[in-house]
């Protein structure tokens, strides 16, 4: 691609806090969404004369709707604990990529228009008028945040920068500055059913091809069922699993697990996407509309269980929000939720992560594995941010960290963790999450991957790690693209179920 050239940061021995270089990333500007996309989502496509009023009105609306937003904007004491916690700051050295500075882009405007002191004495309280210059800064720096929430782990007040970024982007949408990448994808989900825009016949053809491949490879007729009414399990997985390498290897892994366990399962051509990009902007209705396709498919197919494939944002939305978004999950006591819960099997978690499913099946002896099949690999695990900091798995606290690791250790003999401060709830984002996995932000993506690349480099040197497993489609796509810039081979990147696929015993 004819992308702008930029320097690739050098991997050092440790993750270092860089010296400030003011404004070095101010040029980063993701492509804006064009009129047809904005029209479809109900947003303007350019700034009107009244953009400022619209922005302030929208901010007021959001402050009324989300108390968390008002609290986050009010309580920051500028202690600085977050400043060196963001991978984009560590990779770019631009001080506006410090979480507190990213928040302040909105906090200054909030003070000016929504606090008495800011209305009367703006200069004394760091309040600032909303100008076109400020708005452009929002567009630049709210798309240099992957909403990974690492900074919130270290904030003594628990301020969640991701929520501020989400609101910032939604206000930008509302004045006509939407992002092409995310908004185009949302229109495809709503029109076709997945982020790729993969229509049913193409999906069917792709799955049939995969069945042929598996049979040629193993001699076992493992199926990839689509739209099977009355199946027990509906698998909802990111559409990248159908399309890309190495994603497809995990899809093959899920199919082998269901086959070996004798579970009657299906995928849906109508709900052929797990990822929900509605999470990235604070637009509840858009997120709900995307999630409702899964409810509709579950009701239509009459399934008893809903299982989610390897997708980070999907699992956060599924685990944390589906119960009220589309009625899948515990706690919904309204007629809407009750209708679906009557159909779903209460003896299983709803929804359930594919890692939980496979882990349980191995533990209970229902499927057999041979970990020596992965003896050519020394494996580490990259915790994906939305799984790590926005969800859980299994029955124990921290299950989102232990279940995938126990699963990996069951199917592979050689495993080493990366440094403590880069895993579990302190994990570093891959650098491509939250709507940033687009070529027009390649510089941001490459630089944002520096902390993870540093941690990986250390286990490569110390333990000869040659495979980094993960459970997120964005992480897989991001790392296969950016790690080669740091000298790693893209084949080091793959899914947990890619390992399962190699180790599982069929027939």
């Amino acid at each position: 691609m004819a992308a702008a050239e930029f320097d690739i940061p050098e991997i050092k021995e440790n993750i270092e806090v860089p010296k400030l270089r003011e404004g070095v990333m101010a040029h980063a500007r993701t492509f804006p969404a064009a009129q047809p996309i904005q029209d479809y989502l109900g947003y303007p496509h350019e700034l009107g004369d009244d953009w400022k009023e619209r922005a302030i009105d929208k901010m007021g609306d959001m402050l009324g709707k989300y108390r968390s937003l008002k609290v986050f904007l009010d309580i920051c004491v500028h202690c600085g604990a977050c400043t060196d916690k963001c991978h984009y700051y560590l990779g770019t050295s631009d001080p506006k990529n410090m979480p507190v500075a990213r928040q302040d882009l909105m906090r200054q405007v909030y003070r000016r228009y929504f606090t008495t002191a800011g209305k009367l004495f703006p200069k004394l309280v760091g309040a600032r008028d909303l100008t076109k210059e400020v708005l452009d800064d929002w567009y630049s720096y709210y798309y240099q945040c992957s909403e990974c929430r690492r900074c919130s782990v270290f904030c003594p007040y628990g301020i969640d920068t991701a929520e501020i970024t989400m609101v910032g982007r939604e206000i930008l949408n509302h004045v006509g500055m939407g992002q092409k990448y995310s908004n185009e994808i949302l229109t495809k989900v709503m029109k076709i059913g997945n982020n790729l825009g993969l229509p049913g016949p193409a999906l069917q053809d792709t799955l049939e091809g995969l069945e042929e491949d598996i049979e040629a490879d193993t001699g076992v007729p493992v199926k990839m069922p689509l739209d099977v009414k009355g199946a027990e399990v509906l698998l909802i997985t990111p559409s990248a699993d159908f399309f890309s390498e190495p994603h497809v290897e995990s899809l093959i892994g899920y199919a082998k697990v269901f086959h070996a366990a004798g579970i009657n399962w299906t995928m849906s051509s109508y709900a052929s996407e797990a990822a929900n990009f509605g999470l990235f902007d604070a637009n509840y209705e858009v997120m709900r509309k995307a999630a409702m396709r899964i409810r509709d498919a579950a009701l239509e197919l009459g399934v008893k269980r809903i299982v989610v494939g390897e997708c980070g944002h999907a699992w956060r939305v599924a685990y944390s929000f589906w119960n009220t978004l589309n009625g899948i999950g515990y706690g919904g006591n309204d007629p809407f939720s009750i209708e679906l819960q009557k159909q779903l099997d209460p003896t299983y978690p709803q929804p359930q992560h594919i890692c939980e499913v496979t882990h349980d099946l191995i533990k209970s002896g229902k499927i057999k594995v041979d970990p020596s099949a992965n003896d050519d690999l020394v494996v580490t695990f990259h915790d994906s941010c939305n799984v790590a900091r926005g969800s859980r798995m299994g029955t124990e606290p921290g299950g989102q960290f232990t279940v995938p690791r126990e699963l990996i250790k069951a199917v592979a003999n050689n495993f080493h963790n990366m440094a403590d401060e880069t895993i579990y709830e302190s994990t570093f984002c891959c650098g491509g999450g939250g709507g940033l996995l687009t070529d027009d932000l390649m510089e941001v993506r490459v630089k944002g991957a520096l902390p993870r690349a540093t941690a990986l480099n250390n286990v490569v040197k110390e333990h000869q790690v040659n495979f980094m497993a993960m459970i997120c489609a964005i992480c897989k796509a991001q790392f296969t693209k950016v790690l080669p810039k740091y000298g790693f081979d893209m084949s080091m990147v793959g899914g947990v179920h890619q390992l399962v696929s190699k180790a599982i015993k069929l027939d």
Binding site: A2, A34, A202, D440
Partner: protein, 111 residues
């Protein structure tokens, strides 16, 4: 959207240089896109480009990488039916770079 003149024909491309109106595609446009992408088009590249166009005509989407590698393996021999070979032809990634040269829209999503 910007307009470019390719072999005497005005065509519209998007911010990333992808053709906006697929029906305008011709071999001159493919050659122009290849130069932009710093790809020297050989017969092997054309096999990929032609397959992408055939597949798109049938399914209105670019083929999945597996579908593509398998088809190329059948046409050019099993040793070429893999992702590595496709990356040798299209270093930025077969899905995006080959699609651009073939005049297909850019694949989107977590890819």
């Amino acid at each position: 959207m910007p307009m470019v003149n390719i072999a005497g024909k005005e065509v519209e491309v998007d911010e990333e240089g992808y053709l906006v109106d697929l029906s305008q595609w011709n071999e001159d446009i493919a050659k122009y896109m290849a130069v932009e992408e710093k790809v020297d088009l050989t017969d092997s590249h054309w096999e990929v480009v032609n397959f992408l166009r055939e597949y798109y005509a049938e399914y209105q989407i670019a083929p999945a990488v597996r579908v593509l590698t398998k088809a190329i393996g059948k046409k050019l021999g099993p040793e070429k039916g893999n992702n590595k070979y496709l990356y040798e032809l299209f270093p930025y990634g077969p899905a995006k770079q080959a699609c651009k040269i073939a005049g297909l829209p850019k694949p989107t999503g977590c890819i």
